[in-house]
C-alpha cells in the first residue's frame, strides 16, 4: 500500500480505497441493470446471453397483452396480472394499516407514560425476526388444530381452516406483514413526534386551542414530512413483499397470495422451463415503479434537510 501511495500521491489514493466497493457495485448492481435489459429482449431458457435468441419486445407484449386490464382472465399472461393486482391490493391494505397503527402507537408512546423504552422495544421486537420465522410462528397459531381455532371453539364460534380459504389467507398475509414491520415505522414516527418542539404545544395551550385543533393544526402538519418518508418507504418495501408470505402460504391457495416478486421468482427460477426473459421483463416493470418511488423519497429527504 505504501508503494502505491508513493506512486499515486495522497489524494489519488482515495481511488484505491474506493476500488473494492466500486468493483462490487459495478459487478453486482450496475452490470445487472444493463444485462436485465438484454434478458428482457431475449427468449428461450438458456442462461448464457449469447445462446439466447433475440425476440425484441415480445416478452413485454406477452406480459402486457390484455383486452381489459381489470379482468385478468382476458390477459395472455394472466398469472402476471393476478400477481400485479394481488400486489396492488396487498400494498394498499398493508401500508394503510401499518402506517395507521404505527402512528397510533407512536402517539401513545409519545405520551407521558412509564417504561416507554420497554414498550417501544415490545413493538419493535418482531422487526428483528426473520420472515420465515414470522411465517412459521403464525402458521403454527393458525393451523387447523391451532391455538386460535381452539379459542374460537371454546367461545362457540367454531374453527376456520384459515390458510385454505383464499380471503382469509390474504387477510392473514396482510396481518403478519403488518405485525412484523410495524415497529420499524413506529420508531421513525416516534422520532418525528419527539422532534416537534414543546413550546409550540405550550403556545397552543395558552391560546386555549382544544385537543383536536392542536392535533390537526400542530401535530399533523409538523409530522407530515416524516409521514411522507414513512409512506414511501413502506410502499417501496410493500411492492417487494416476498419472503414472509411465500413461507406462510406459498402464494396460495391457488394464486390468492402470489405477489409480483414471487411471480418473477417462479418464472425465472422455480419452474421449468426457466423463462428468464419473462422474469427480466417483469423485473424491469417493477424496477420502474421502484425508481419513481425512490426518487420521490430522495427528493423529500433532501427538502427536509434544507428546510
Amino acid at each position: 500500500m505504501l508503494a502505491l501511495q508513493r506512486k499515486l500521491g495522497v489524494n489519488r489514493l482515495a481511488w484505491a480505497f474506493l476500488l473494492p466497493n466500486l468493483i462490487l457495485f459495478g459487478l453486482f448492481a450496475f452490470l445487472p441493470v444493463i444485462l436485465n435489459v438484454f434478458y428482457a429482449m431475449t427468449g428461450g431458457d438458456n442462461v448464457l446471453l449469447a445462446d439466447r435468441p433475440d425476440v425484441g419486445a415480445r416478452n413485454f407484449v406477452t406480459l402486457l397483452d390484455c383486452e381489459n386490464y381489470l379482468d385478468v382472465n382476458s390477459c395472455r399472461e394472466d398469472k402476471f396480472w393476478r400477481a400485479v393486482w394481488n400486489t396492488v391490493r396487498f400494498v394498499i391494505l398493508q401500508v394503510g394499516f401499518m402506517v395507521g397503527f404505527a402512528l397510533l402507537t407512536a402517539i401513545i408512546l409519545n405520551r407521558d407514560i412509564r417504561a416507554r423504552g420497554f414498550f417501544r422495544s415490545v413493538f419493535f421486537f418482531p422487526v428483528l425476526l426473520s420472515p420465515v420465522v414470522v411465517a412459521l410462528i403464525w402458521k403454527w397459531i393458525l393451523q387447523r388444530e391451532g391455538v386460535l381455532n381452539a379459542f374460537l371453539d371454546w367461545t362457540g364460534a367454531g374453527g376456520i381452516n384459515w390458510l385454505v380459504d383464499a380471503q382469509w389467507a390474504f387477510g392473514w398475509s396482510v396481518f403478519i406483514s403488518v405485525w412484523a414491520h410495524m415497529g420499524f415505522y413506529t420508531l421513525i414516527l416516534l422520532a418525528g413526534l419527539q422532534a416537534i418542539p414543546r413550546d409550540v404545544y405550550e403556545a397552543a395551550l395558552m391560546d386555549r386551542a382544544n385537543a383536536w385543533r392542536t392535533f390537526r393544526r400542530i401535530t399533523l402538519p409538523l409530522l407530515a414530512p416524516t409521514m411522507l418518508v414513512v409512506l414511501i418507504l413502506a410502499l417501496i418495501k410493500g411492492v417487494q413483499t416476498f419472503d414472509e408470505v411465500y413461507a406462510f402460504t406459498g402464494g396460495g391457495p391457488g394464486t390468492a397470495t402470489t405477489f409480483i416478486i414471487q411471480y418473477i421468482y417462479e418464472e425465472g427460477f422455480a419452474g421449468a422451463p426457466r423463462l428468464f426473459g419473462l422474469a427480466a421483463a417483469a423485473s424491469l416493470l417493477v424496477a420502474g415503479v421502484l425508481v419513481v418511488l425512490t426518487l420521490i423519497q430522495l427528493r423529500i429527504s433532501r427538502n427536509n434537510v434544507d428546510g
Binding site: L2, V10, L18, A29, P32, V132, K139, F184, Y265, L290
Partner: protein, 350 residues
C-alpha cells in the same frame, strides 16, 4: 369527542391518571400480548412431546405423564388415577390398552390385573419440558450443517462488508479528489436497485463466477451496500482533519491512518452497521433461495422453509428449529437493542 381527541394529542400528564392514560396503558399491554404472545407460544410448544402437540384443544404448558415402577416390569408404567368403580381413588399403572379398555395394575399388588374402561381412569400429569424435539434435530437432520452455513455466511459477509464499506466511506469523507461527487451519485444510484429487481442477471454473473451453489455466491454480491457507506461516511466526516494531519507529519502511511486512527474512532458507527449486517444476513431469504439449491448448502432459513413445505409437516422438529433460528437474533436484541433502534432510525432500513 374532544376527550377522545385529547387522548390522541395529550403529551405530558398532570398528576392523576386521566382515563386516556388508562386507554393508553390498555393498548400497550395488549401490544405486549400481541407482539410477545406468539413467540412465547412457539417456545412453549417446542418443548411439548409429539403427543402433546397433537392434542386439541392445546394446553398452555407442556405436560408429561407420570409413571410408576411396578415389580415384575422392566419399564415404568404410565400412571393413572381411577375415578370410577371399585378401585376409585387408587393410583394404577397401565399395562395394556386396546379398544377403549385398559388393563391396569395396582403397584402394591403387582400380581392382579384389572380391566377398566378408558373413561374410568385419568392420566396423572406434571409440567415437564420435553427436550426430545431438540435432540432429534441433531440426530435426524443435518442441523449443525445448516447452523454452520448460516453462521459462516453471517460472519464472513459482515466482516467483508465492514471492511469494504469503511474503506469507501473513508475515501469519500477525508479526501478531496476529482470525481468525488460522481462517486457519491453512483452510491446513491445503487439505492434504487434492490436485489429483487435484478435477480436474473445477478444469477448469471454469480454462475459465471463459479459461485452458484457456493456460500460465497450469497456473501459477495451483497458486500457493498449504499446504506453502509452513507452511515459510516456521515460519522467519519465528524472526525477532525487535524488528527489525520498530525499523523501525516509523523510519516504515517494513509493505510495506517485508516487502520489505526479512522477505524478505532468510528467504532460506534461500525458497531451499528455490524448489528444491522448480522440481522440482514442471518434473516436473508430470497437470494440464498436462488443461489443455494443443494440441501447441504442450505442456511437455517432455507432449511426451515423446505421442511415446512413437505406434505406432512413435522411440527415437533420444525418448532424446535424455529426457536433455535430465532435465538441468536433474540440474544442480540436483548443486549444491544438500544443500538439497533438508533441504527435503524438513522439509516431508514436497508
Amino acid at each position: 369527542m374532544a376527550r377522545v381527541l385529547s387522548f390522541l394529542t395529550a403529551t405530558r400528564g398532570k398528576g392523576r391518571l386521566h382515563w386516556t392514560d388508562w386507554v393508553s396503558y390498555a393498548y400497550l399491554i395488549f401490544g405486549i400480548f400481541l407482539m410477545f404472545g406468539p413467540v412465547v407460544w412457539l417456545v412453549l410448544s417446542s418443548f411439548k412431546s409429539a403427543n402433546e402437540l397433537d392434542r386439541f384443544p392445546p394446553r398452555f404448558l407442556p405436560y408429561a405423564q407420570e409413571t410408576v415402577e411396578v415389580d415384575g416390569f422392566d419399564d415404568p408404567l404410565l400412571a393413572f388415577t381411577v375415578v370410577d368403580g371399585e378401585l376409585e381413588g387408587e393410583i394404577v399403572g397401565q399395562t395394556r390398552r386396546a379398544a377403549g379398555r385398559a388393563e391396569v395394575i395396582v403397584p402394591s399388588n403387582p400380581d392382579e390385573r384389572f380391566r377398566l374402561t378408558v373413561d374410568q381412569i385419568e392420566p396423572i400429569e406434571r409440567v415437564a419440558f420435553a427436550t426430545e424435539n431438540y435432540s432429534q434435530l441433531f440426530e435426524r437432520f443435518n442441523f449443525l450443517k445448516f447452523f454452520w452455513n448460516s453462521t459462516f455466511i453471517t460472519v464472513t459477509a459482515t466482516l467483508l462488508m465492514l471492511l469494504v464499506n469503511s474503506m469507501a466511506a473513508f475515501a469519500l469523507s477525508k479526501y478531496e479528489f476529482r470525481g468525488r461527487t460522481s462517486v457519491l451519485l453512483i452510491v446513491i444510484g445503487t439505492l434504487m436497485i434492490p436485489q429483487t429487481v435484478v435477480l436474473v442477471p445477478l444469477f448469471l454473473i454469480v454462475t459465471e463466477l463459479g459461485m452458484f451453489n457456493s456460500l460465497w455466491g450469497v456473501i459477495i454480491p451483497g458486500a457493498a451496500t449504499p446504506t453502509g457507506v452513507f452511515l459510516l461516511r456521515q460519522y467519519m466526516i465528524t472526525i477532525p482533519d487535524e488528527i489525520l494531519d498530525a499523523a501525516r507529519m509523523d510519516k504515517a502511511s494513509e493505510w495506517k491512518i485508516f487502520w489505526r486512527i479512522i477505524i478505532p474512532l468510528s467504532a460506534p458507527a461500525i458497531a451499528v452497521l455490524a448489528i444491522l449486517a448480522i440481522m440482514w444476513r442471518w434473516n436473508d431469504f430470497l437470494w440464498p433461495l436462488i443461489v443455494l439449491t443443494r440441501t447441504e448448502n442450505f442456511t437455517l432459513q432455507l432449511a426451515l422453509n423446505s421442511f415446512q413445505g413437505e406434505l406432512q409437516t413435522d411440527w415437533p422438529s420444525l418448532l424446535a428449529m424455529t426457536v433455535l433460528t430465532l435465538l441468536p437474533i433474540a440474544a442480540v436484541f436483548m443486549f444491544l437493542q438500544k443500538y439497533i433502534a438508533t441504527g435503524i432510525a438513522s439509516t431508514g432500513g436497508k
